[in-house]
Amino acid sequence: MEIFWFIIIAVVLAVFFILDGYDFGVGIIHLFWAKKEKDKEVIAKSAGLFWDSNEVWLVAAGGMLFMAFPTFYASVFSGFYLPLIIVLWLIIFRAIGLEFRSQFKHQMWKDMWDKSFGISSLLLALFFGIALGNIVRGVNLGGVQNNISTYEGHYFFLPLWNNRFSPLSEHPGVIDWFTIIIGLITVVVLAIHGANWIILKTTSSINKQLKKVVLKLNIMLLLLTIFSLGIWQIINPNSLNNFIDKPYLIIFPIIYFSALIGLFFIKKLKKDIQPFVLSTLLILGGITSSLASMFPVILPSTNTINESLTIYNTAATEYGLLVALNWGIVGFILLFVYMIIQKRLMGGKIDKMDYGH
């Protein structure tokens, strides 16, 4: 039962990163590559139409995590207090930028909100990546000092950084050079994803140029990925053991790397949807590989006193998980119906659509 909910939540989270991920990516592209006013307009619109329905996936993932793994929810949310609240502020800031940029036809007004949309998208992508990095690296559960826990064993609190920015020190902070690298990877992945979304959804004049951008970013991604794998081995020599013990898990990294390689051929791809599918797989592969490498642990402990949080020691009871499964199935069926209806009515290029006014 725990495994089941773990998978469901992982899927919902992945969907969030795929859907809202292109939003963030669009913001990053918008910040660095959109120059002409018309392109800016179209690009902002390609994110603006859908962001709030995409963000619902985050809310849903949060709710399910709360229900199924309450101890994990409590531990992680209070432990990562500051970065999470900063993420919230960024989400709000980004939304303001998107919603308000086109409200007044004044250049300065637009520029201001364009920048706020772009920068907060970039920072959000970075922070989400850093969060993933923290989860993979692990934290000092129980706040152990001189072999004594300062809190209950499943709680912790991380400062934003420690004075050496090192993941190897006894009290790692949220931001260190390992998590920064994972953060950068996330930024690059989402930028690629966003570019592909723009290619798919708009006829903006920079679509051709964006393919070149994707190529460049892809090279960066390959290097960063290899680099991070190396470092990860140093931080945690056992990090790849799960793949050796359970070889079928290798499928997830394979998805990631095939998508990565596929993207090198972006110029040959005829249909606009193909690059987008590839970057979707990239995100999916990335998230699932990270989770698979830890399973069943969901938050490793960096000390030897308190045990890591796993899906088993943080889960709700059987009865709760079971009833939730019943309504969950109904919910998912409904959700797919909505999505089909929405996609059928709203497909196609954004700027060619007539919204009926």
Partner: protein, 443 residues
Amino acid sequence: MEDMIFYDRLQFAFTITFHYIFPQLTMGLSLIIVYFKWKYLRKKVEKYNDAAKFFMKIFAINFTMGVVTGIPMEFQFGTNWAKFSELTGSIIGQTLAMEGMFSFFLESSFLALFIFGEKLMGQKLHFLTGFLVFLGSWASGWFILATNAWMQHPVGYEILENGKFVLNNFSALFSNPWLLPAFLHNQIAAVVTSSFVVASVGAFYILRNKNIEYGKLFLKTGVVLGLVSSVLLAFPTGDWNAKNVAKYQPASFAAMEGIFETEEAGSEIILIGQPNMVEKKIDNKIAVPNILSFLTYQKWDKQIPGMDQFKKEELPNNVPALYYSYHIMVGLGTIFIGIMSLAVFFLWKRKLYNIKPLLWAIMFLFPFPYIANITGWYTAELGRQPYLVYGLLKTSDGISPTVSSGNTLFTLLGFVGLYMLLGLLFLVLVGKTIHLGPKHQTY
């Protein structure tokens, strides 16, 4: 420790108060939009369709605000109330996750379709999407109130040895006797807010002599619905809630009504007066004898326990705030019924559109339902104190063990700043929409 709890509570109170400004309008407005759209389908008069789309525009702005201020609410359960989440998450997580699954998805998917899809879908389907948005927003109210009802009156649970609350009866969450009255009262209160807003926009157009045709439509719809819903709010739903509080939270009932001493033969109802916590009495009191006993139990001489009957630890820790919140809500509710009756009377006499002072009054009335709603929630939440889960889990035992008060103060200040900006922009946008009027909207 003490200041930790204080900042946590302050931050929660601040952010939820701000959040609840928006959903109360969306929930009520979605109903009014469905009504206009339905009128259009029946009558085929363009103005109804314009009205529906105009308010949908205001709805959309509100919805965005609701989403961005709602996400911090959900996060805060984990960030600031970690112990509470850990202990009760497997129960209240059910209703919160269901809210995401069944209502937010519904609402947000069909909102986009309603706004952008009129031409693509044709009128009947467009009405249907509007209806689904309405359904989604009310479902969201239902689930969030189910969550809150469990905190006010816990049911269907079991407490394990390690102190964790676990669910043992799912359907009890929804047959909770606290839920239905609270839901109905709260939803009708949302309808009050939105009908007052609609009426206010109408009065504004008429007074400005602009968009007159719409102005009359809005005013008429707003005051009629405003009267009906204000009355329903006091009776039966308000009364029903009061009976529930008296039954399940007698200590809060005493505090809310300001009964310091138990009266042997039936309690008086206090209309006006200031609680004096030192001398334990109400200053400058105007009260009517025995009415409270009658209203609550239909018996003139029924004894109602006063605050003297409870231990200090069981009483809400801020009695004056609770007392005032309750009296402000009820007082405003009474005033609403008065003004709206007057307006409907003149509407019926066909004079309403010409009575300037009344129009001015209606125009400036719209903030007050917001105040009543918020004070209503303060009544509920302060009344629940000192417990998070009534009778079982103290508020002081629910906070995050690892977050320091300095951090919470920092984030609280951040929220205050950011929300000021958000509020300002919100006002500008809604102002702009109203200024442009129903005919000239762009999407």
